[in-house]
């Protein structure tokens, strides 16, 4: 008897597997991509779903690179419709896409995100420049015309105006888009402050990039994982440490943390929005045009995302920490997005 029950159970499961395998057509939008865009994308998905006309889209947080890989895997309906990215799509990725039959992609820029360096409120705020950030975090720094392994142990070693505490920076690991952007904007920007490295940039761009993008590995930079909340908690416990994370986490924890000024500019909403704050990047999502019409609601979702009440100056996304585009940019983005304008890479 027992035997029969087992047999039935197995048969039933096999049947279920076979059946659900056939359910190819979708009535629900699938979104993958950057963990930085995730909070915004999910907020729009929820607002979009609550109108009742369409199912709430499923949003996966896979990282920008992982998302584009899934997005470019093919044009059939088993692949995602939209991918979020905290950087622009790369040429190589567009090529992969095209090779797999994804030829029409629409790019939608949704806003900016500032990357902040912050420490506990209990100590004095830091006043940094990009050059100092580079000096504190690079693997090799130029001293007396030569590249040497980073000798700086305390902030004061770099500049007498900085506090006499050990350099201890908690930041994202190399897999993170935040780290990519930080290295590109802050470190590379800082490296350009050295004449020697600027000269190197002209003669050997590759060598320059490798110097500018290498973060020290002697324990001063601590990779704290992708979880920004973890960094926030560690900063509360360790007053001397400095953390690197997205602006929205500083915004939410403004009672405990303070952002360091970079080049004299404070990381505030307004300063990031008007481009004064130096370490900020654009956020995007990419739409697979061939799925529009196949999966219901994609166009309406884009409309919701690019509506004034979402990504506008006082939209609900700004409450989640998104720094909005300027009004003129918003109008342009909205029009191009709704026309499904093809991607143009410069």
């Amino acid at each position: 008897m027992l035997n029969k029950t087992f047999g039935l159970a197995i048969a039933a499961t096999v049947a279920t597997v076979a059946l659900s395998g056939q359910a190819m057509a979708r009535d629900q939008i699938r979104i993958v991509g950057s963990s930085t865009v995730f909070p915004f994308s999910t907020a729009v998905a929820e607002a979009f779903g609550s109108t009742g006309s369409f199912k709430t889209p499923v949003v996966e947080s896979t990282g920008s690179g992982g998302g584009l890989k899934l997005f470019c895997a093919g044009a059939d309906l088993n692949t995602p419709d939209i991918t979020n990215a905290s950087r622009r799509i790369k040429k190589s990725e567009v090529e992969t896409c095209a090779k797999n039959g994804v030829t029409d992609i629409t790019e939608v820029k949704i806003g900016y995100d500032g990357i902040v360096l912050a420490n506990s409120k209990e100590v004095a705020p830091m006043k940094l420049t990009k050059k100092q950030i580079f000096a504190a975090l690079a693997k090799q720094v130029p001293i007396d015309g030569k590249l040497v392994d980073n000798p700086y142990k305390t902030w004061k070693d770099i500049d007498p105006s900085l506090p006499d505490t050990k350099i201890e920076v908690l930041g994202p690991p190399p897999t993170s888009g935040t780290r990519d952007a930080f290295v590109e904007l802050a470190m590379e920007g800082g490296a350009k402050g050295y004449d020697m490295l600027t000269a190197l940039r002209k003669s050997d761009k590759k060598a320059f990039t490798s110097v500018a993008h290498s973060v020290r590995e002697d324990g001063a930079y601590i990779e704290a994982g992708e979880n920004d909340n973890l960094i926030v908690q560690k900063l509360e416990a360790n007053k001397d440490a400095v953390g690197i994370f997205g602006f929205s986490f500083l915004d939410q924890n403004s009672d405990k943390l303070q952002g360091a000024t970079v080049g004299g500019v404070e990381p505030t909403f307004d300063n990031i929005a008007d481009g004064q704050y130096g370490i900020s990047r654009s956020l995007f999502f990419y739409v697979k045009d061939s799925h529009v019409g196949e999966v219901p609601g994609i166009k309406e979702f884009i409309a919701e995302f690019t509506s004034e009440k979402a990504f506008g100056e006082f939209g609900y996304l700004t409450e989640k920490g998104l720094i909005p585009l300027t009004e003129a940019e918003r109008v342009k983005v909205r029009k191009e997005a709704l026309d499904l304008a093809p991607l143009k890479l410069m």
């Binding site: 087992f6 659900s20 995730f38 909070p39 499923v58 006082f314």
Partner: protein, 435 residues
Amino acid sequence: MTDQAQKEGGNAWQSEAFIKNLTKRKRAERRFRLTGLLAIITALTLLAILLFSIVSKGYTAFVQTFVTLDITFSEEVIDPNGTRDPMELRSANYSKLVQNALRAKFPEVTSRRDLRRLFSLVSGDADTKLREMVENNPELIGKTEPVSLLAGDDVDMVNKGYIDRNLIEDDRRVKDMELSWLDVLEADGDIEIHFNTGFFTNGDSREPEKAGIAGAMVGSFYTLVITMVIAFPIGVMTAIYLEEFAAKNKLTDLIEVNINNLAAVPSIVFGLLGLAIFLNVAHLPRSAPIVGGLTLALMTLPTIIIAARAAIRAVPDSIRQAALGLGASNQQAAFHHILPLSMPGILTGTIIGLSQALGETAPLLMIGMVAFIADIPSGFGDPATVMPVQIFLWADSPERAFVEKTSGAIMVLLGFLILMNAFAIFLRKKFERRW
């Protein structure tokens, strides 16, 4: 030592060397006991610290702040044409009702920025509640009634004491203006704390006050059902075959080594396997409990096989011999006698394997179950997430109010694990036979 004792005559037990040796051994034993005790105390302290930190952060997730407002269900907002058409009632702008009520309560607020702050006192969930009220009882239109509405997450955080009112204004998310409104509401007795039923009935949400674990619980349920339906019969059959029927040779030895080895393979490897087989080859839907269940079944199988084999081996051979002696076939002996007797042990092993699967996230990462899914899944093919994944997603969210949600969800998950393991112990105590 005995030889020596005999040589030295009967008094060797009291000899100096012996007593010295005895005290030494007793001391060693005392030392060992003390270390053992210390080990247990350390473990218990760490557990207590863990539980304390979770419970102290998370117990507030089970209550939620509500704001009572006098809502006027004005006809011109809900049903301007006066048709009472259900479609029209459904799509009406219910937030307007809340906004009107708040404006009436605080007429001095006029600037656009301040109004936005004022409206954020009440959660966006209020619309749904008012809509349901009107749909269930269209009579309400035109009347004014006090309605208890879910408060926004910032208000909730202040009310629960997570935001310090004494900080300077710039350092707080909640500004003086909002605090003064709150004080007015508080003085009028309009702020209440209720049990948070939404936490157990809602799906995930980006608004902390609305977010619940129902979606994750249902997802976990579907996933575990698949895991059990696949892993239990296959595991038990494998164990019976290997123990009762298979010949002992190099091949079965190899299988045994491999099963034990699989039980120790990191779970992410099973996730990759699931991605390769179920998604890329079988083209099953991404993020679906069926794929999650199949993947977790692969992971749980070795545990169940090992537990089932141990349970079958524990049945005395005499029972097998007696059955065979009375003319039962091997199959009859296995299914009529050995299996029922070993069932308590097998079930215990299965439940422990399943509770392991319940707490697993890593393999689900690869098959797309780590995702924001607001709708509560209604079948094995619907996109779903599971409880540990929900905890992971909330722990990663910037909003402060998700901290308590995270701990609250951990408490619920721990509750389920304790229930499952207690059930396993109960089964063992109740049905286990000793020979």
